[in-house]
């Protein structure tokens, strides 16, 4: 799983990210539906949070939907039923996700590798059943009609365009935050754990604590994505917490390129775009197509879009240096 640190480093410096940002700012004016963009950005945030764990710490969580869903429900309930303001609702959602993440993390980090995946999956299924039966989640219907309200009591979020720029700002902040974490000494230790855990232990690092902190950070950010998603779409449902959602976020990260900064974003936009495109046309076959992409990714395309691009750039560089 060794991939280069920054997808941009080999390209034209800061030009590419700035161009992408400009494109994202311009998107609603180019005729892209703002709600679609907000939804895709939420899933991109979710995938980036997940990638912090899989790509940079080497832990495969198969239960990230639980944290996404926990925040989606908490924020939805607080904003709709308890009448909280959106910013407080989102903060509370993040706190709930991090709390659930702390409990699940404490249990899951007791095993490694494949067992870690199975344990997180099982714990997430437990959270799912709790949401299925709890009185405040609306059971099969979910929480419908969550109002967006006014940010800080001033900015009405009901306007799609206003809300889009706020979501974009949050997304950029989360993205930069993750870049910062990965490049910090803390991030270096995480990568050391990913590459060779026994060595990290022998160097004196308290590996369990690093893993737990990475897990909680990742779940908190996944919660942020879930909380904002509830405000964007106006509902929280069982789908948010179901294991298929955990699978989707894995696929987004894998398809885009795990262990790269841009990969999960590209993966999320691809999958959400694909679902949008296919939903009305192929119905049940969406699941089959998602499954097939999974299989193709694992067999032939493990580095993902960004990983393959980087590998190609590197090969070219080597070829140029030789000639």
């Amino acid at each position: 799983m060794s991939t280069a640190q920054s997808p941009w480093r080999h390209l034209a410096g800061p030009a590419v990210p700035l161009a992408v940002l400009a494109l994202l700012i311009a998107a609603p004016f180019l005729g892209v539906y703002p709600v679609f963009m907000m939804k895709a950005l939420c899933y991109a945030m979710f995938a980036c949070a997940f990638n912090l764990l899989l790509g940079y710490t080497g832990l495969l969580s198969f239960g990230h939907a639980a944290f996404f869903g926990a925040a989606a429900y908490s924020t939805g309930w607080l904003v709709r039923t308890a009448g909280w303001s959106p910013e407080l609702g989102v903060l509370a959602g993040v706190a709930v996700a991090a709390g659930v993440g702390l409990v699940v993390g404490l249990i899951a980090i007791r095993r490694e590798g494949i067992y870690f995946a199975m344990i997180t999956l099982a714990m997430a299924q437990m959270v799912y059943f709790v949401f299925l039966q709890a009185p405040f989640t609306g059971g099969e219907d979910g929480l419908q009609g969550v109002p967006r309200g006014k940010l800080f009591g001033v900015i009405p979020l009901g306007d799609d365009l206003t809300f889009y720029f706020i979501v974009l700002a949050v997304f950029v902040a989360v993205f930069l935050f993750i870049v910062r974490i990965v490049r910090s000494p803390f991030g270096q230790v995480l990568k050391a754990i990913r590459e060779n855990e026994p060595r990290a232990i022998s160097l004196g690092y308290d590996v369990a604590r690093y893993k737990l902190l990475a897990f909680v950070l990742s779940t908190a950010l996944a919660g942020l994505a879930g909380a904002i998603k509830t405000l964007v779409l106006g509902f929280a449902s069982l789908t948010d917490a179901h294991w298929t959602m955990s699978g989707e976020v894995i696929l987004m990260t894998l398809l885009g390129g795990m262990g790269t900064f841009a990969g999960p974003v590209i993966g999320a936009f691809t999958i959400i775009g694909l679902q949008n495109l296919l939903a009305d046309r192929v119905g049940e076959w969406v699941t089959v197509i998602i499954g097939a992409i999974f299989v193709i990714c694992v067999v032939a395309f493990r580095r993902g879009f960004v990983g393959e691009l980087l590998a190609w750039v590197q090969r070219r560089k080597k070829a140029l240096a030789r000639s």
Partner: protein
Amino acid sequence: MDIFGIPIQAFLGQLLLGLVNGSFYAMLSLGLAVIFGLLGIVNFAHGALYMIGAYVAWIGLDRFGINYWVSLVLAPIVVGVIGAMIERTLLRHLYRIDPIYGLLLTFGLALIAEGIFRFYFGVSGESYPVPEQLAGATNLGFMVLPNYRAWVVFASLVVCLGTWFLIERTRLGAYLRAGTENPTLVQAFGVNVPVLVMLTYAAGAGLAALAGVLASPVIQVTPLMGSNLIIVVFAVVVIGGMGSILGSILTGLGLGVIEGLTKVFYPEASNIVVFVIMAIVLMIRPAGLFGRER
């Protein structure tokens, strides 16, 4: 007669239902453990193979009039062949890389299978009739024992113990255990390891299909039956540890019983009790009840 305020009939009924579910947990976790031992792959598709087994039986009866007893043999063969093809074409590419890719690939396969069956059969589910030889119930005096449920527990115990015997007491089993320890060396001794690996996956798939046929008269046959079960089976595997075959069988049956009893005393928690036990076991004994720390 009551036990803790619960009528004994209801109590024993749930106990038996718990044993029935436990039989399925045992058969599936056994297959998972054997496949993981030799292939190093956690087979997420195991639930899907179980579901396909049940559908082979249902389609066989509904479209072709194939009876239960024939399906009991036919479905494992059909699904075993599917398993062998999956191993040959896809899984073999993954043996040298991180095992999480095996989980992800089989997860994708499970989604494909589930999607296809959902397209053709919907999600509402089909019911499979209990075979006439096993219909009805026997009055044991203290309880009425539904014959089919007793048969499921009996049949799966025979199958599980047979598998144990095959692996621990026969020459083929010795190859298998040696292949789990060191495939290169076994290959050097002239055993065809790739074929052994393929047959192992096929056998695990067949075992899952057999569980599916056994389950079809007691539950609704739906495309989702596999994925709902496999997550519980994963928890069972974590609790038991994948090191021991008898351990897998015991853990599966035991957790089925505990789940059944939870349904009697606190029904709201019956869905999550296995996961709670998993969390507790991980805190006390992280390697699992019968596992070895690696």
